[in-house]
């Protein structure tokens, strides 16, 4: 499939990675973390990170339905010792309820802060400490509660139950990142990257590793997985699921990748082309196409040399949960 089948809309973006799609249906918006840094009279740095919806501008045609509503700011006021751009994740439903998780910089390593969100208003944060946490991701369980998946410096991938802040994290695997998605039927799809022995030093690029897929009963962690995306080295990946399957969107040394995977694990590569520049923070969400199926909304940031973002590209791909995505609209 020619690249021209996917149309990317790019708008300016002022901020830092990550950028995440959150919400559903008419409340789907792209959020970014806005760092407010103030210096009080006594010179103290007071840092707050607020998750704000990015006005889609001309990308509205990609991301929104006609009745779409613009997102509300979600202020998560954490004291950060340092001015920096933490990694975070956000999950919202159509009502604006959900949760957020964010790194808290300590200088050497990072704790995690977790808030629940009710109609756009964040609760007091809960802090999780003990090792250097990175790449925090939320996944919503069948009962609507959330768990945090994060890479722990000591243990690899762990699962944290926000309801039990003092409990030891649950070890998931010698993974460097993972997503868990409900695909219906009592099963979940796990997308993960293993920690390679060669390590940060993947022979094909720093931080790049193949993404594996494991499908199994919800609550069970797969012991192994199969390569997806052709086994290509991947820096970052995002995914969204329906009961039809999983839509994966990833960046790697070779560009960006997208694939639709059905509930049986059958994968269909989606040719999405590659926008120019340093790409980071892929995000994906599903929107109903109004015809009983879903389209996938993809976003990816364009970074400048100093790692701040200068733009974000939006694209919409058909995702019907089948191996044969629909032609471009």
């Amino acid at each position: 499939m020619p690249d021209a089948s996917i149309k990317w809309e790019t708008i300016s973006f002022d901020g830092y990675a990550p950028a995440r799609l959150a919400g559903a249906g008419g409340t789907l918006n792209l959020y970014k973390g806005v760092i407010s840094e103030t210096s009080s009279d006594d010179g103290a740095e007071e840092v707050e990170v607020t998750l704000k919806a990015v006005p889609p501008g001309r990308a509205a045609s990609v991301i929104s339905d006609a009745e779409a509503t613009s997102g509300v700011d979600i202020a998560i006021g954490f004291e950060q010792v340092f001015v920096s751009a933490p990694d975070w994740d956000l999950s919202l439903d159509e009502s604006g309820n959900g949760a957020a998780v964010m790194q808290l910089f300590g200088g050497a390593w990072n704790d995690l802060l977790y808030v629940t969100i009710a109609k756009g208003v964040a609760s007091d944060p809960v802090r999780f400490a003990g090792q250097d946490f990175s790449a925090p991701r939320l996944f919503r369980q069948l009962d609507g509660s959330y768990r945090i998946l994060a890479r722990g410096d000591l243990d690899g991938l762990v699962s944290i139950d926000p309801a039990r802040p003092t409990a030891e994290p649950t070890w998931i695997g010698a993974w460097r990142s993972a997503l868990s998605l409900d695909i219906g039927g009592g099963e979940s799809a796990w997308l993960f990257q293993e920690i390679s022995d060669v390590g940060p030093l993947s022979p094909v690029g720093i931080g790049a590793a193949p993404v594996l897929l494991g499908i199994g009963p919800t609550g069970k962690v797969p012991g192994a997985g199969d390569d997806i995306l052709g086994g290509a080295p991947i820096f970052e990946f995002a995914a969204a699921s329906s009961h039809e399957g999983v839509l994966v969107f990833a960046t790697g040394p070779g560009g960006i990748h997208a694939a639709a995977i059905d509930v049986h694990g059958a994968e269909t590569q989606i040719a999405v082309g590659t926008p120019p520049g340093i790409l980071s923070s892929p995000s994906v969400a599903l929107l109903s196409d109004g015809q009983g199926s879903f389209d996938g909304v993809l976003t990816v940031l364009h970074l400048k040399e100093n790692l701040s973002a200068e733009g974000v590209s939006f694209a919409r791909v058909p995702f019907a949960g089948s191996a044969s995505p629909a032609p471009a609209a």
């Binding site: 009080s40 009279d41 006594d42 010179g43 103290a44 007071e46 004291e79 010792v81 340092f82 001015v83 920096s84 751009a85 933490p86 808290l104 910089f105 300590g106 200088g107 050497a108 390593w109 704790d111 090792q131 250097d132 410096d153 000591l154 022995d197 060669v198 390590g199 940060p200 030093l201 993947s202 022979p203 690029g205 720093i206 931080g207 040394p253 340093i278 040399e305 100093n306 790692l307």
Partner: protein
């Protein structure tokens, strides 16, 4: 009260002459003191000397005492009686008409004697010191005149009061109420009117009228008194020429009264009375005396008088006066066999032959025809204890002495190669443990010549001293040695020499980029700007000196020096073009050692050989270096190098390096086989080079063939050096010749440049390094080998050297102005690695080394810096250092969210607390009570203003060889306990968004406010 008066008289021409004295009007002396003035008895009258005396006093004695007091004359002195012809006294007791007794003592004089007596009284009156001077003057009138002079004095016309005002008050009336003037006037009026009856009675009764013949003397000549000469024996005297005349006085017994008996003198000339004089205007002949004789009345007396010349002294030629010994002038003369003698000339007064006839000489040699001179030969050195003496005697005598000493002409250096540098400064060659001799050069050079030598080293009476031929002198600093000829206290000669101990140049040769040909001569190639090399590629020469030390090298003087002013033993010769270079080195004044270097053009192909260059080199042994750029991170650079590529290699020290080259044939040969060799001059930390050679011989090449030549892999002739080496860049010099040629036939055909890093040991897996601990990354090797360049000792030294790369001010590594660590550059892109200059920083080594830089820098957090240090240790086989976490100790304060980097100041009150959050954060540069402020100055890697607080921190901890805590983010000094780290690194704990600060370490908070943990085992270190 009895009175006594003197009646001195002498025969006159007509009448007897009488001695009278005229009293003063106002007496100004009394009892030997000056007084204001009083009116004496008989004021202004002529009277006989004398006056009232004590009842119990003998009148004659009382009179003599009063005459002495009033006139200064002694009547009973024999000399005076002789000089003034005073006869025997006679005492007369008289009574006046009223039967008042008074006494008169009559003294007969000769006329001349009385005249001289009166003159002497007048002379004494003028002396202010004379006691009780009552007389204004003395006189010797005839008897009749004397009687007329006696009695009252008429008042002056203006009256006595005017007289008193003028003479007592100095002409100024004392005032209308003064009564003293009236008293004085009454006194003088009465005194001047006093009667002179007693005086008239004495004269009239005791002195007959008319002239009286002098009595015939009965005195006999009994001896001669000699003045102005020295008695030398019975009636023998000696006087020195030129003095006051000798006076000889005839002595009579009893003394003559009246006229002096006639005296006939011989040998002297009568002068006055009984005295004759002998003039001292010529010496007596040949020292023999003359006779002075007096005859009187048939008696005679005589003396022998010798007049000697005056011994003025000696004039000494050809010798120098050096002092006196036992009051004898001592002279020193330098030895001379041919020079003039010491000439001693006696100086006399008078300076005539008659005088010299009186001289008796001892010592020296006479000079014919010159009685004033003696000579002493300088041809014999004499013992200082027995100088040659010359004595000239005329009784008395004078003496002088001469010491002849050897001539000191210089100092000679023996037992060491030496040379004159300038003037009296010499250099001698260094030799460990050896000594040189300094010898005083003397003429004549005989043992007795050494007796006067005195070295400034304290050695005496010896011509030789020894000096060390070590250590090396500072260049241009000469140690002075002086030898002095000392005679008595006089330094008569000295010579000095300056000695500089200089190294010897043992050899001068080349240690890099130069070769020896078949005649052992040095040659190199003009490779600058060739083969992709920069300009000014140098060959390095080294001079080997004895001693071979830095102080010795400062003495080196170079010719054709490419680096004048350098003080080491190495010089560079730039290989910029074909040339014949005559590099020379010498130490001070020594003959130079030369190292001629012939610089040849490259690629002077032997006839018939293929013309080749290096197409490829495959390294073996050692290890691959890993790439760091983002795309290829972790990939090996591999072992195959090709022109234009950067393929760094790493080896463990003291291992071998295998090379397998492939040569491209650019121009075919005629089938002549070739030899190829590659030479690596590996630069070492001490500035020297380790030379390694790879050889491939008899490489066949067919006639006309252009196929690559691929000889087998070969190891070098020697292993790599046994030390860490930062070989970046190093160059292989590729030479070829026709097989069978000699070392003069080589020609250089290519130069290849490489990066080779030699580690202390095989690499180990470092703690918690990304990728399981691999440490062969280019930056890790480059930084660690540069820091540890030359390390060959032990692990502790290795680690100290590696950590020195992180040192800040204490180690001198950071620029104190900018905080820059100039060495903290990534190898592959020269990006500057910093600490917290941009956020978010890189937390791990992999991203530290690979992430894209911003503005030429890559901001890294403590974890990355800790891993970099661990990787640098591990690259050299040191795997024990661990990555350690630092965080607020929850056991101390569960509320703490961060700790304060050192250099905070707590401003009181309240006082900083050891266990409570007492202070708020204060604005910088303020000092408000209850706040704490952070001062700048905690400099981190390439960042002068790192964060003031942290939630946590990574450092490096090592147990091997004793505990050590490294903080590579700051490069601060290593500490050996966790408590010491806490104290050095932190000021206290903080909590909250607008932090409350406290738990001040300075206030005594336990130094466990931070918890240090080894992350891998999760146990506490403190």
């Amino acid at each position: 009260m009895p009175f006594v008066y003197l009646l001195a008289h002498a025969p006159g021409d007509v009448e007897q002459l009488v001695l009278l004295g005229q009293r003063v009007f106002i007496q100004t002396w009394a009892g030997s003191k000056k007084i204001r003035g009083q009116i004496p008895d008989h004021a202004g009258q002529w009277v006989l000397p004398g006056g009232a005396h004590g009842k119990d006093q003998d009148p004659a004695m009382a009179l003599r005492a009063m005459v002495l007091a009033e006139t200064g004359m002694r009547l009973d002195d024999p000399v005076a009686r002789t000089n003034y012809d005073i006869g025997e006294p006679k005492l007369h007791r008289l009574e006046d008409r009223d039967y008042n007794p008074f006494t008169v003592v009559e003294y007969p004089f000769s006329a001349s004697g009385l005249r001289r007596f009166a003159d002497a009284i007048d002379g004494n009156i003028q002396k202010l010191s004379m006691q009780d001077c009552l007389f204004a003057k003395a006189g010797i009138p005839r008897r009749t005149e004397a009687l007329e002079k006696l009695g009252p004095v008429l008042p002056p016309q203006s009256g006595w009061q005017t007289f008193i005002v003028k003479n007592f008050y100095g002409g100024t009336p004392p005032g209308p109420f003064n009564t003293e003037v009236d008293t004085l006037t009454a006194q003088i009026t009465a005194s001047t009117k006093q009667s002179g009856a007693w005086f008239e009675q004495a004269i009239e009764e005791l002195i007959p009228e008319g002239s009286v013949e002098p009595p015939v003397s009965k005195s006999k000549l009994v001896g001669l008194r000699v003045e102005g000469a020295t008695s030398t024996g019975m009636d023998a005297y000696q006087a020195q020429y030129g003095g006051t005349a000798v006076r000889v006085t005839a002595l009579f017994d009893p003394p003559p009264v009246g006229e002096m008996p006639a005296i006939t003198w011989s040998g002297a000339t009568q002068s006055a009375g009984a005295t004759a004089e002998v003039a001292l205007d010529r010496v007596t002949a040949k020292g023999r005396p003359r006779t002075v004789k007096a005859e009187s009345g048939g008696d005679s007396r005589q003396i022998a008088l010798t007049i000697i010349p005056e011994l003025v002294g000696f004039d000494v030629e050809n010798a120098k006066k050096i002092g006196e010994k036992e009051q004898v002038p001592l002279y020193a003369a330098v030895y001379s066999e041919e020079g003039p003698d010491v000439v001693v000339t006696l100086k006399l007064r008078p300076n005539n032959s008659e005088a010299f006839e009186a001289v008796i000489w001892e010592g020296g040699s006479p000079v014919s025809g010159n009685p004033a001179k003696r000579t002493i030969s300088r041809g014999t050195v004499v013992d200082p204890k027995s100088p040659v003496r010359i004595k000239a005697s005329v009784n008395p005598e004078i003496e002088m002495a001469v010491i002849v000493y050897a001539h000191l002409t210089g100092i000679e250096i023996r037992n060491a190669p030496s040379r004159q540098v300038a003037g009296t400064n010499y250099s001698i060659d260094y030799q460990a443990g050896a000594q040189a001799t300094l010898r005083g050069v003397l003429t004549p050079d005989r043992p007795q010549s050494y007796l006067y030598l005195n070295w400034d080293t304290g050695e005496q009476h010896t011509r030789d001293i020894t000096i060390n031929r070590h250590p090396i002198s500072a260049p241009g600093v000469f140690t002075n040695h002086t030898v002095t000829q000392t005679i008595g206290d006089e330094n008569v000669e000295n010579v000095s020499i300056g000695i500089e101990v200089v190294p010897t140049v043992q050899s001068l040769g080349y240690e890099s980029f130069a070769f020896r040909d078949n005649t052992n001569a040095w040659y190199s190639y003009a490779i600058s700007n060739q083969f992709g090399l920069p300009n000014h590629i140098p060959a390095q020469a080294i001079a080997v000196t004895d001693p071979d030390t830095a102080p010795a090298w400062q003495h080196l003087v170079w010719a054709n020096d490419s680096a004048p002013g350098r003080t080491d033993n190495r010089r560079l010769v730039y290989l910029d073009g074909a040339a014949a270079v005559q590099l020379q080195a010498r130490s001070n004044s020594a003959n130079p050692v030369a190292a001629p270097l012939t610089i040849k053009n490259v690629q002077q192909w032997p006839v018939g050989t293929p013309q080749i260059d290096v197409r490829r080199i495959t390294f073996s042994g050692g290890r691959s270096v890993l790439r760091e750029d983002g795309v290829n991170f972790g990939n090996a650079y591999g072992r195959v190098w090709q022109p234009g590529q950067t393929v760094p290699q790493t080896y463990t020290r003291n291992t071998n390096v295998g090379l397998q080259p492939v040569f491209r044939v650019n121009t075919a040969g005629t089938g002549i086989a070739i030899d190829v060799r590659a030479t690596l001059f590996l630069p070492l930390a001490d500035g020297s080079f380790h030379t390694m050679i790879w050889s491939w011989n008899n490489i066949a090449s067919a006639n006309g063939a252009t196929a690559d030549l691929a000889p087998a892999a070969a190891n070098a002739n020697v292993t790599l050096p046994n030390q860490v080496v930062h070989g970046d860049p190093v160059r292989f010099l590729w030479e070829m010749r026709a097989t069978g040629g000699h070392d003069g036939n080589w020609t250089l055909f290519d130069v290849t440049s490489h990066q080779i890093y030699l580690t202390y040991a095989d690499p180990a897996n470092g703690d918690r390094l990304p990728g399981g601990g691999a440490s062969n990354y280019w930056t890790v090797l480059k930084l660690s080998c540069a820091a540890a360049d030359g390390q060959a000792g032990n692990a502790a030294q290795l680690k100290a050297a590696i950590y020195s790369a992180f040192a800040q001010f204490a180690g001198g590594g950071l620029d104190p102005a900018s905080g820059d660590n100039p060495g903290a550059l990534r190898a592959w892109d020269n990006a500057r690695m910093t600490y917290w200059t941009r956020r978010p920083p890189q937390q791990r080594l992999n991203t530290m080394l690979s992430a894209a830089p911003a503005g030429g820098t890559i901001s890294c957090a403590c974890g990355a810096w800790a891993e970099l240090l661990i990787a640098m240790f591990a690259a050299h086989g040191e795997a024990t250092p661990r990555k350690v976490s630092v965080e607020p100790n929850a056991a101390v304060s569960g509320a703490a969210t961060g700790f304060m980097v050192s250099n905070w100041t707590f401003h009181a009150p309240p006082p900083a607390s050891a266990n409570a959050y007492t202070h708020d954060r204060g604005a910088p540069a303020t000092a408000v009570a209850g706040t704490a402020t952070w001062g700048s100055g905690v400099v981190a890697q390439n960042n002068q203003t790192p964060p003031e607080r942290f939630g946590n921190h990574f450092i490096v901890y090592d147990t091997a060889g004793g505990l050590a805590f490294y903080d590579p983010s700051y490069g601060s000094p290593v500490v050996n306990t966790a408590a010491a780290y806490v104290t050095a690194a932190s000021a206290g704990l903080s909590r909250g968004a607008n932090p409350q600060l406290g738990f001040s370490v300075a206030a005594g908070a336990a130094n466990n406010i931070l918890k240090l943990r080894r992350l891998t085992v999760l146990h506490d270190l403190n």
